[in-house]
Amino acid sequence: MTMPRLLADFWVPSAADLHWFTPELAVLCTIVAVLLAAIAVGRNPHITAMLVLLGAGCAILFAQVAESRMTDGVAGPAPARAAPMLIADSFSAFFKTFLLVLLAAVTGLWLIGLRQRPPQAARLFAGNAPEFFTLLLGSALGMMLMVGTLNLLMIVLAIELASMPSYAIVGFNKSDRLGAEASLKYVVFGAITAACMLYGVSMLYGLYGTLDIPTIAHLAVRRAGESPGTAVLTSVGLVTFGAGIGFKIAAVPFHFWCPDVFEGAPVEITAWLSIASKAAGLGLALRVAGALTSAPSAGQVESLWGPMAIAVGAAAAVTCTVGNFAAYRPDNVKRILAYSSIAHAGYMLMAAAILPLTGPHGEATPSSSTFSALVAYLVMYLFMNVGAFGVTAIVSWQTGSASISAFDGLGRRAPWLAVPMAVCLFSLVGLPPLGGFIAKWWLLYALGRGAAAQSWLWALVIVLVLNTLFSLYYYLRIVRVMFVKTGPHEAERPPLAAPLGGLVLVNACAVMLLIGGTIGIGPVKSLADDAASRIFDSVAGPPIAARH
């Protein structure tokens, strides 16, 4: 290969292409800025945090600007426009904004922690701020990429980029044994599932000669009848590939890392992981499921992808049930919330089981109600979890323990913490008139709509509502300890001094949940519909030559 030849074949994205990916570039620049600032002006945690917030704000701005200029799902940089490596559409724009808002919230929590933590830990965190935020931003970048691609290799890359910094940041407090153990468990699990995922990718590539998922779907449909071996190998490839996604969202049976990691990680990172990795993983899962099943020749859709939908639905049902029942035992609130997030991931995964289908009036309906159901759920989930973890953070920093007994009598000791916590917990159960109920409602709506054509989805509906019931008990345990339980030790518990920033954060979350459950139902849904309105459609037409 001579140099001129190489340069001639070398493909460079144009400026127009890169316009759609300015948020990611902004995050990259923030990482660089954080690291350089540490050298230039010295290691100052507040400067670092400000830079991060500034960068996140710019990235959000870029994402919104890019979205407003979008007319269609846009294919991103790729030499072959039809098989892009990156995608920018309204769905991924929502996720970018979502992740960056969450990043800002986590940064806020971290800033509160600087003063609230026990002094040794606070010094560690304050002194290593650039490293902390580099890891966090790296993880955020990976997650942003996760929801913006339909290319197998890019998916693997994005998942690894999201996971590796997480492994490190979970064990950030090096003197904490529990954190180190959590980090190790996370690494081992992540490595195994990454290996599975790559195995699946290699199998699919070997079968179909392309890394582009819509093309694979196309070819799979065309070659479905060729030999039974093809179907088996495709399924094996898809299932092992799904291990990687399942790991990120902590779906059963890839969830075992979740409770230990959440318990051992610093509480802001637990909040980050519980929301961001689920969101990114579910967005990816939904996108992949949608792409796989929207290949033309609709007549074969059900026979080919029907079993896949049922498998995903079953996995979702098992996940939420296991998550809910497992939450009965632990006494550590972080662990309880970890299992609760597994359960919620299970609920959201049900959305992936609803395929594009023939609507009740005969025409094919886009599955946009499914995508928008997920978006609406995530919006509410963000507030519920940030609020719950925020209160847990403050209580655990003040009392030194995150077990349920730390919340004893919180209703009297710190009512401005206890009431938002109760609101967030009841919202997590899914009780009206709170936002969590509306989240479940839109999911039920999407399921019911799908069930008109695929009646087995009613089983998922019943599983969803029954799990709502099962989950009540463990959320109520915490509420009970805060308000209801009367005991002799009550008198000795001193009042809890909560920092103003923390109070503002959690109360804002509670207010958003109250609004979201009552007057905000319409706005949230239209936001969600908007995000689901322009999804990058898979390529229709004759199969694409394998060029990437």
Binding site: F437, A451, L469
Partner: protein, 552 residues
């Protein structure tokens, strides 16, 4: 009708004034101000609800003008505006009253007011902190209850139904008796179990109506629209092969409402919740919350799924459960040593008549069931308050340790006799009319539905409930109120003015409803109930066959 229809704002004020009162309680300065605001709010709501009477002017016997020509045709004080309109989904804020809901709205506002007066002595309770929180939750509960009785959009109904759960959990769990935590969480879990099944039905109804008509959540529409009715009655497959869609929906709804009524296999939350709750909350639980089960059946199950209700097996099962509730509740009450638990089980027994009356689907049956609901809603809070008065003074509820209280507190004793005789069903008092209507209706049910051959024997068996009821109430009265005066109760203070002011209205109503049942209650409901009966009777008879799940 699609752009919204608002016939005046009275009903909206009735439903949401308690919420405004709750907000006012949050900012009121001091405990006394909080109590005053709460009592004033409930009183104002009661006055406003009396304003609904003018729609049901019974002195003009123009039934059609009041109740319309058919079920759902004439609703009063309707507010019907689009609430959430997104994509294809339209949820309306649709409230209104008709003969079914009007008496229950009045009952709710009345009992809430009396319970607020009963809560005035919150300082003397065992757990006397947090009066502000107590009254805020109390008023939010009242909004939830009023919303349930007036909502005519299924989603709105469901939201109001669930809104009641949270305040009730805290009201029982924080201010209750020794086992309050257990009772509160049992209540919450049990009721939520029913509610989530109702949620499945909600989604199913919506999408089923979508398949034949513009999708709707309008409860009246479900019952009156011919195409929707035909689609709902069709025994399509639901999930599994043997499961018929209408039957599954009916069963899910029945479980949800049966937990509230409560019907015997699902009643076990009631004794704990009623006993452990503080007196005013027991009054509300027994007086209003139990009626929601019956109201739900009459508003949702029967009008929307009449063909399932007319299935012989279904009717038989429901009637049997009613009779079992009557007898089992009465027998349990007889075995109780705890005074409050006796009254709680008597509630189970009385509500059995409600289910029996509904199961036979005749005019007498439904009228008896509704009357029994209102009558029980008057006598039961009275009984619970009577128990509460004793508990405040003697600090015990053990029947064995009480005795001769009529001698110690003559005025109270007289009112207690009135209240417990009303509960017993003495002719001339409210409890009698409902029971007799149901029993007579059951006895003659075969006239309307010839396949109800079991009705007559069942009426005879249920009549034994009357004897059992007399048994436990009279025996209890003998042990508690009669007999020699006990030394420790010689100096018990007489009922205070506040307590008499709670008992007297209830006693007066018990007498009024017993002597003038037609003018005081039947006139306001019979129109709608008659329409309901004819609606059920006329439901496509050829579709009444053994439907999938049961009987094949």
């Amino acid at each position: 009708m699609d752009d919204g229809n608002v016939e005046g704002y009275l009903l909206n004020w009735i439903v949401f004034l308690p919420t405004l009162g709750a907000v006012a309680c949050l900012v009121a300065p001091g405990r006394r101000a909080v109590k005053t605001v709460a009592v004033a709010t409930t009183f104002l709501t009661l006055l406003l609800s009396l304003g609904l009477f003018r729609h049901f002017a019974w002195w003009s016997i123009d039934d059609v003008a009041i109740f319309g020509e058919a079920y759902g045709k004439q609703l009063h004080q309707v507010t019907k505006v689009p609430w959430i309109v997104i994509g294809g989904l339209q949820i309306e804020y649709f409230i209104g009253v008709d003969g079914l809901s009007f008496p229950l709205v009045i009952l709710t506002t009345l009992i809430s007011f009396l319970a607020a007066v009963a809560s005035w002595n919150i300082e003397e309770w065992k757990i006397n902190r947090g009066a502000r929180a107590y009254f805020v939750l109390f008023l939010l509960l009242e909004t939830g209850m009023l919303g349930v009785f007036t909502a005519l959009d299924f989603f709105l109904f469901y939201v109001f139904w669930e809104v009641m759960l949270l305040p009730m959990y805290f009201l029982i769990g924080v201010w209750g008796g020794p086992r309050k935590e257990y009772a509160a969480i049992k209540f919450f879990l049990y009721t939520l179990a029913g509610s989530v099944l109702m949620l499945v039905v909600l989604v199913a109804f919506y999408f089923k109506s979508d398949s034949v008509h513009a999708a709707t959540l309008n409860l009246i529409e479900y019952a009156t629209n011919g195409r929707i009715q035909a689609a709902f009655a069709e025994p399509a497959r639901f999930l599994f092969d043997g499961w018929s869609w209408p039957v599954v929906m009916f069963v899910f709804l029945f479980i949800a409402f049966a937990i509230k009524v409560p019907v015997v296999p699902f009643h076990t939350w009631l004794p704990d919740a009623h006993v452990e709750a503080p007196t005013p909350i027991s009054m509300i639980l027994a007086g209003v919350l139990l009626k929601m089960g019956g109201y739900g059946l009459l508003r949702i199950s029967y009008p929307i799924l009449p063909t399932v209700a007319k299935d012989p097996t279904v009717a038989f099962v429901l009637a049997t459960l009613g009779v079992i509730s009557i007898l089992y509740g009465a027998l349990c009450a007889m075995a109780q040593r705890d005074f409050k638990k006796l009254v709680a089980y008597s509630s189970v027994s009385h509500m059995g008549y409600v289910l029996l009356g509904m199961a036979i689907m005749t005019n007498e049956g439904l009228q008896g069931a509704m009357f029994q609901m209102i009558a029980h809603g008057i006598s039961s809070p009275m009984c619970f308050f009577l128990v509460g008065v004793i508990y405040d003074r003697a600090h015990t509820r053990e029947i064995d340790r009480l005795g001769g209280l009529w001698l110690s507190m003559p005025v109270y004793g007289s009112l207690a006799t009135l209240g417990f005789f009303a509960s017993l069903g003495l002719p001339g008092l409210c409890g009698f009319i409902g029971e007799v209507w149901v029993l007579l209706g059951t006895y003659g049910a075969a006239g309307a539905y010839p396949w109800m051959t079991w009705a007559r024997p069942m009426a005879v068996i249920a009549a034994f409930g009357v004897v059992l009821t007399a048994g436990y109430i009279l025996w209890m009265m003998q042990r508690v109120y009669l007999g020699p005066q006990r030394e420790e109760y010689r100096t018990l203070p007489e009922a205070t003015g506040r307590e008499i002011s709670v008992l007297l209205p209830l006693g007066a109503l018990a007498i009024l409803l017993g002597i003038l049942p037609d003018q005081s209650l039947f006139r306001f409901m019979n129109g709608t109930l008659g329409q309901l009966v004819s609606h059920i009777a006329s439901a496509s008879n050829d579709a009444v066959r053994q439907l999938g799940m049961i009987g094949q």
